[in-house]
């Protein structure tokens, strides 16, 4: 069984192409994938930045053709594309496909590295495939491994720790000033879209009360009504500043609205509570010298953007650590796949049975006084018994090994005969087998390390 991944993402296809391929009804599409004989298992992932199908198949070449055909016939629609479909699509096989999925789930292949939504989207895609009956043992194992590596990346690296959008940076700064935004009072100066976007992020973090001050009272009242706050005129600012914990300002006008003196007067009256001022207006609404006031932390749009940029750079540095975890998980998954192949399972079963037979024969012969003929007879007898016992299971495993349902039998055989137990009888033969297999698999010294996930290289 082989793993394939075919799709397009933000690096290979512009948004006008991606939106054409975006899937609205994944179950219907999965049903169409199931109808293609070369594809044994399939999971369909469709987000704003990528449309990908992960498939398991014992016939990789026909399966790849089927996946490309699926994109062309089922998803592309009737209207002509701005370019050739092949220019947008990439296909990965086996290790590269596995690594790509792990990178996607871990959010290191995302447009915004470390963004948290992608893992939920991958989980959703997996659930839909399970419900549609297109997810079998290989992809189940693959996706579970993907979720595990995503969890490790999240907990063991700082890839997702630093916010990279201006609104999230504001929330993160708020958490560095206040223990939590819960119960804090926000003063909004202005009632435009920028204010609303930033307020959404702050409200998501538990900000309690909202007070809106604006030149136009109607707009202030409208915003206040939507966020359950109170509306005020700009004349109320001196009083509002005393009570506020977070000030969010984005209002038109050439001159600053809040001068150093205004904030200094408010600071004197508010005790030693910190005041977080976010000035996202252009031109700036707050006198920059206000940052020098004790307990006042003033950030303008450039400051926030600079922090966001710095966080993006830090996240990219962390990607290397995340890549290492994904590579490690890929090796584990490939080892599992390899172990489940029919030939290694059969070889191990035979080797263990032979090791047990040989040991028992030698022990018995030591106790008997037999000539060479008698010894050969016993040796032949036991060999024949073992071969006859193993004949049926080995034949069936060989026949089923390359089919999807065969994986379950292979896994059952490994479990029943304890083939993965290093302490089971006959396990001493494993080392010889592994040495042989290792020589066959080991890359040549100086060979390039395994890599994956480069759409440019893999594009066909």
């Amino acid at each position: 069984m082989r793993v394939l991944l075919c799709g397009m993402n933000h690096r290979t296809a512009p948004v006008e192409v991606r939106e054409r391929f975006a899937v609205e009804d994944p179950r219907a599409c999965l049903g169409k994938l199931r109808g293609r004989s070369a594809i044994a298992e399939a999971v369909l992932l469709s987000t704003c930045n990528r449309v990908e199908v992960v498939a398991a198949s014992s016939e990789p070449a026909p399966a790849e053709a089927a996946l490309r055909d699926f994109f062309e016939r089922e998803l592309a629609g009737e209207a002509p594309l701005p370019g050739e479909l092949d220019d947008y699509l990439y296909t990965y096989h086996d290790g590269d496909a596995v690594l790509h999925l792990f990178r996607v789930a871990s959010s290191i292949d995302s447009m915004v590295v470390g963004e948290p939504q992608i893992l939920g989207q991958v989980k959703q895609a997996f659930r839909e495939a399970v419900e549609a009956g297109t997810c079998g043992p290989v992809l189940s194992r693959l996706f579970q491994a993907g979720f595990a590596v995503a969890k490790r990346v999240r907990s063991e690296t700082a890839v997702a720790e630093r916010p990279v959008s201006v609104a999230r940076v504001a929330v993160d700064l708020g958490r560095q000033i206040f223990e939590s935004l819960e119960g804090k009072v926000a003063l909004l100066i202005g009632a435009g879209e920028m204010i609303e976007a930033a307020l959404h992020a702050l409200r998501g973090d538990g900000l309690a009360e909202v007070r809106v001050a604006n030149r136009t009272p109607e707009r202030a009242a409208e915003l206040a009504r939507r966020f359950g706050g109170s509306s005020h005129g700009l004349g109320d600012l001196p009083e509002l500043l005393v009570e506020a914990d977070v000030v969010l300002s984005c209002i038109g006008g050439q001159a600053p609205l809040l001068f150093w003196e205004d904030l200094a007067a408010a600071v004197r009256r508010r005790g030693h509570r910190p005041l977080f001022v976010l000035d996202i207006g252009v031109p700036r609404n707050v006198d920059p010298r206000a940052n020098e006031l004790p307990g006042v932390y003033l950030y303008d749009l450039d400051d926030l953007s600079e922090v966001a940029e710095s966080n993006t750079r830090e996240r990219r540095r962390e990607v290397l650590r995340a890549e290492a975890l994904a590579l490690e998980a890929r090796e584990e998954f490939l080892a599992w796949m390899h172990a489940l192949a029919a030939v290694p399972t059969i070889r191990r079963l035979r080797a263990r049975a032979e090791a047990v037979r040989r040991r028992e024969v030698e022990r018995t012969l030591r106790r008997l006084d037999l000539d060479d003929r008698g010894r050969e007879a016993i040796d032949a007898l036991t060999r024949s018994i073992v071969n006859k016992i193993l004949h049926a299971p080995v034949s069936r495993l060989r026949a089923l090994g390359e089919e999807a349902s065969g994986l379950a039998h292979l896994e059952a055989a490994r479990h029943l005969f304890a083939l993965d137990d290093p302490h089971a009888p006959g396990a001493e033969s494993d080392r010889e087998l592994e040495a042989e297999a290792g020589e066959g698999r080991r890359p040549a010294p100086g060979a390039a390390p395994a890599r994956g996930g480069d759409p440019e290289r893999e594009r066909r």
Binding site: S155, E156, A158, E161, R162, L173, R175, Q176, I177, F178, E179, V267, G271, H272, P274, N291, E292, P294, G295, Y297, Y299, D303, E306, V307, S310, N311, E314
Partner: protein, 263 residues
């Protein structure tokens, strides 16, 4: 007692390493582990004092035991604070090494036996050392929180991003801990000074002998009085209060520990 102290000391060391690694790495798990290890270390440390009082009563009359008690009380205060403010790994990373050094030296220098418990002065000496240690411990926490607040305030004012993901406690949490520790610490120190005077009276018939320890402790107490008044009555801002706490604690260490050791 020594065995429990050694266990506590080892746990404090582990807590210091875990919390420091958790802050510098950064890793939430390590930060949480550091806090738990500090908790276990504090439990072992408490057991050490329990054993001390259950067995052969030994008043807290020597410097090693007093330092050990100060460390224990500082840790207890911090652990209670962790229940309110979750992100205090930065403080754990600072306090745990001090706790380790304090308990380690205490375990090495424990006296074989204390003064006669029947002595009338023992009650006052015990109270004086206990409360004085509590005051020292809490003012140490106030100083550490103040130090961290100054670092974090400077970074936020300069708009510098977090370096290497090192995330200190929030300004609000540090300020509240600083205020609470300053208030409680000053109270303990005040009662400690009063019981110290009573101890001297029980022993020598006067309340004040003019020893360097008494003189410098009185000066330190007076300085703290000014700090507390500035903080609570004049509504000093967080940064000024932090600076005062750092300077005040440095002076107190000099006045009580430095002068105590020197004399």
């Amino acid at each position: 007692m020594a065995t429990w102290l050694q266990i506590g000391s080892a746990l404090y060391l582990a807590a210091a390493l875990a919390a420091a690694a958790g802050v510098l790495w950064p890793s939430n798990r390590l930060r949480i582990l550091g806090t738990w290890l500090l908790g276990f270390g504090t439990a072992a440390h408490t057991a050490a004092f329990g054993v001390m009082h259950a067995g052969d009563p030994l008043p807290l009359a020597d410097l090693a035991t007093a330092v050990s008690m100060a460390v224990l009380l500082a840790n207890l205060f911090l652990l209670v604070s962790v229940l309110r403010f979750r992100r205090l790994a930065g403080l754990v990373a600072l306090l745990a090494p001090l706790a380790f050094v304090g308990t380690f030296l205490s375990a090495l220098t424990l006296p074989d036996r204390g003064p006669d418990a029947a002595d009338a002065a023992v009650l006052w000496s015990h109270s004086h050392v206990l409360l004085g240690s509590a005051g020292l411990a809490l003012l140490a926490v106030a100083g550490l929180a103040g130090g961290l607040l100054l670092v974090e305030d400077r970074r936020l004012k300069a708009k510098r991003p977090l370096r290497g993901g090192v995330r200190l406690p929030s300004i609000e949490a540090l300020d509240r801990i600083n205020t609470a520790a300053l208030g409680l610490g000053f109270l303990c120190l005040t009662v400690g000074v009063v019981t110290g005077a009573l101890w001297v009276h029980a022993r020598e018939g006067v309340y004040y002998t003019g020893s360097p320890h008494e003189l410098w402790t009185t000066v330190a107490w007076s300085i703290y009085l000014v700090l507390v008044l500035a903080r609570f009555l004049l509504h000093q801002d967080a940064r000024e209060a932090a600076l005062s706490a750092v300077a005040g604690f440095a002076f107190l260490v000099f006045a009580v520990v430095g002068v105590g050791v020197a004399t």
